[in-house]
Amino acid sequence: MNILEIRNLSVSVEEKMVLKNISLTIPEGETHVLFGPNGSGKSSLMLTLMGFPQYKVVSGEILFKGKDITHLPTSERAKMGIGIAFQSPPAIKGLKLGGLVQELAGRFFPDFSLKEESEKLIMENYLHRDVNHGFSGGERKRSEILQISAQNPDLVLLDEPESGVDIENMKTIGEAIRSILHRGAKEKRTKSAFIITHTGYILDYLAADWGYVLVDGQIQCENNPYELLKLIEEKGFQLCEVCELAKHKE
């Protein structure tokens, strides 16, 4: 079964096209990676998948677990099993992180152990703090993963989990994500992930199955993510102009 299927998706923000004719499929249990330079539309794709209203679907469709969710509200998508860790999440004054996490666990994952999971993410001393308020880059990321952990989604969207994070934190975050993705796995993983990465550091902790390069709102090519990362590290994103893998070469 495919957990996510995007068909010919074009999206605009304030009349400007940010995503053009995107198609991709993530089979259940797989981890796919999205590479691309700043401003190429990576975050726009994630927020479109999450149903944020400023991202207007001009054409195409999004299927989650085989159901058309193109026009479903954000909270419905989350309830169906999509979870997102934001690149720069907002702070919410007065709302305690521990309270929010427990509320989510109560709704979506009653087996969740706040103590165990928060210790894993070194967040046990942040539970009484306001969500993301005064958190450093690494703390925000860990707070995001803790919330995702309680939400226990079937598809995890990660928007640059490594930005602003040191190596120590990277390891903590990477291992926590891996353990979430392996929940309930028997012979095969059932949880899937779609990850935006700039540097590829997260791939040291997670095995990825497939990768895409997004430039100017279009998928330029797709391939083994480690091969893509190697090429990008060597040549930068200009590689698409010369690469024979590129789909949209004119």
């Binding site: 999450m50 944020f52 209203p53 509200p73 954000t74 909270s75 998508r77 989350a78 309830k79 979870g83 997102i84 934001f86 999440p89 907002p90 919410i92 004054k93 007065g94 709302l95 305690k96 929010l100 509320e103 989510l104 709704r107 979506f108 306001d130 919330q147 939400q151």
Partner: protein
């Protein structure tokens, strides 16, 4: 003397449980119950206090001018001895909250009270005052004159919860004199409809190192009108004070004021007004006023007025909460009691009160 069970039901909503060692309840124009079982702490109905403490007459109307406005004039003219007097002896410190309550259970009653609180040197207390109308009262007025005197190094933590009926006019007139090294913390909560509430306590920082902090949480449903804030006069050097308000309006009007008046060197003051507008039709005005004739001072203000940030709303919705649930969570967070520097043992009581109020409306 004890409060009737029916009365207690209504007063509990504003935190007056009647089980405190030091307590006093004013119902309409008379003191219904009082007791003072702690050494060094005296609480008395005003008409008895003026006989026992002759110097009290000099304190009355010494911080608030009877000519201030029509309400003070009315109170002065009545020469009301309804209200309470609290005296805390030198060095006496108590963490057990003193409970007082100003209650109206007669329709169309005009309640006029005059309260005086005196803390001698190094005294420290927590004072909890609840003001409310009986659930069956619709229309009433409350005029409350309160004068507070803090001697050097005295500390008063004053928490006030209001729960008035919809057609009640409320005019508290409060002033506080704060001497060297003394501290006054005020926590004010009103989450119910009120026809018209106007309150602007004034704190006078009169000695080096004196400090004050005014914190308020206000919720204004449709038809409610609040004009509230605080004024801090920095009369002595090296004093500091802040006015922090959080208000939410759902169709009601909130005017949030904060006046800082610097009259001495090296004083520090801050005003912070945060307001949320939950629906169209409400009105919020944040009015910080910073005034100084002295160069070497630091007076600052921050004000944020607006509706719930879409970014925060969608953040919570992306976690699987409905729009209504996300909104309610943000508003509750915005009105969080942690804003207040409440001592641990008072927190459960305030949270309980907030829950009761919440069930009744928000």
């Amino acid at each position: 003397m004890a409060l009737d069970k029916n009365l207690l039901q209504d007063t509990q909503k504003v935190g007056y449980t009647g089980d405190s060692d030091v307590k006093l309840a004013v119902v309409n124009d008379h003191v219904e119950e009082f007791s003072s079982a702690e050494k060094g702490i005296t609480i008395l109905p005003m008409f008895m206090a003026v006989k026992e403490f002759p110097w009290l007459k000099e304190k009355m109307w010494s911080l608030i001018s009877p000519d201030k406005d029509e309400y003070t004039r009315l109170a002065a003219q009545e020469n009301t001895l309804s209200g309470y007097f609290i005296h805390v002896a030198k060095g006496v410190k108590s963490t057990k909250p003193i409970q007082t309550c100003l209650f109206i259970n007669m329709e169309k009653f005009v309640q006029t009270v005059h309260n005086v609180v005196v803390l001698e040197e190094d005294a420290e207390i927590y004072l909890f005052t609840g003001c409310a109308t009986a659930h069956y009262v619709k229309t009433a007025s409350h005029i409350g004159i309160t004068e507070i005197f803090l001697a050097p190094r005295a500390k008063l933590n004053y928490t006030m919860i209001h729960e008035w009926a919809e057609v009640v006019e409320v005019r508290p007139r409060t002033a506080i004199s704060i001497e060297e090294g003394a501290q006054f913390i005020s926590n004010y909560i009103s989450l119910k409809a009120v026809k018209h509430l106007q309150s602007m306590p004034t704190a006078y920082l009169r000695g080096k190192g004196a400090s004050t902090s005014f914190n308020s949480l206000i919720y204004a449903p449709e038809g409610a009108y609040y004009d509230t804030g605080a004024r801090i006069v920095f009369e002595a050097p090296l004093t500091h004070g802040e006015v922090i308000s959080r208000s939410v309006t759902h169709g009601g009007t909130v005017i949030a004021r904060g006046d800082l008046v610097a009259q001495a060197e090296e004083v520090k003051g801050h005003v912070e007004c945060d307001s949320l507008l939950l629906s169209d039709g409400g009105l919020i005005q944040a009015i910080p006023v910073l005034e100084t004739k002295v160069a070497n001072v630091s007076l600052t203000h921050e004000a944020a007025v607006g509706k719930i940030a879409q970014e925060e709303l969608f953040y919570l919705m992306s976690r699987g909460l409905s729009e209504a649930e996300a909104k309610s969570m943000i508003v509750k967070g915005f009105l969080d009691v942690d804003t207040f520097r409440l001592p641990e043992h008072l927190r459960p009581r305030v949270e309980q009160v907030l829950k009761l109020l919440e069930n009744g409306g928000i």
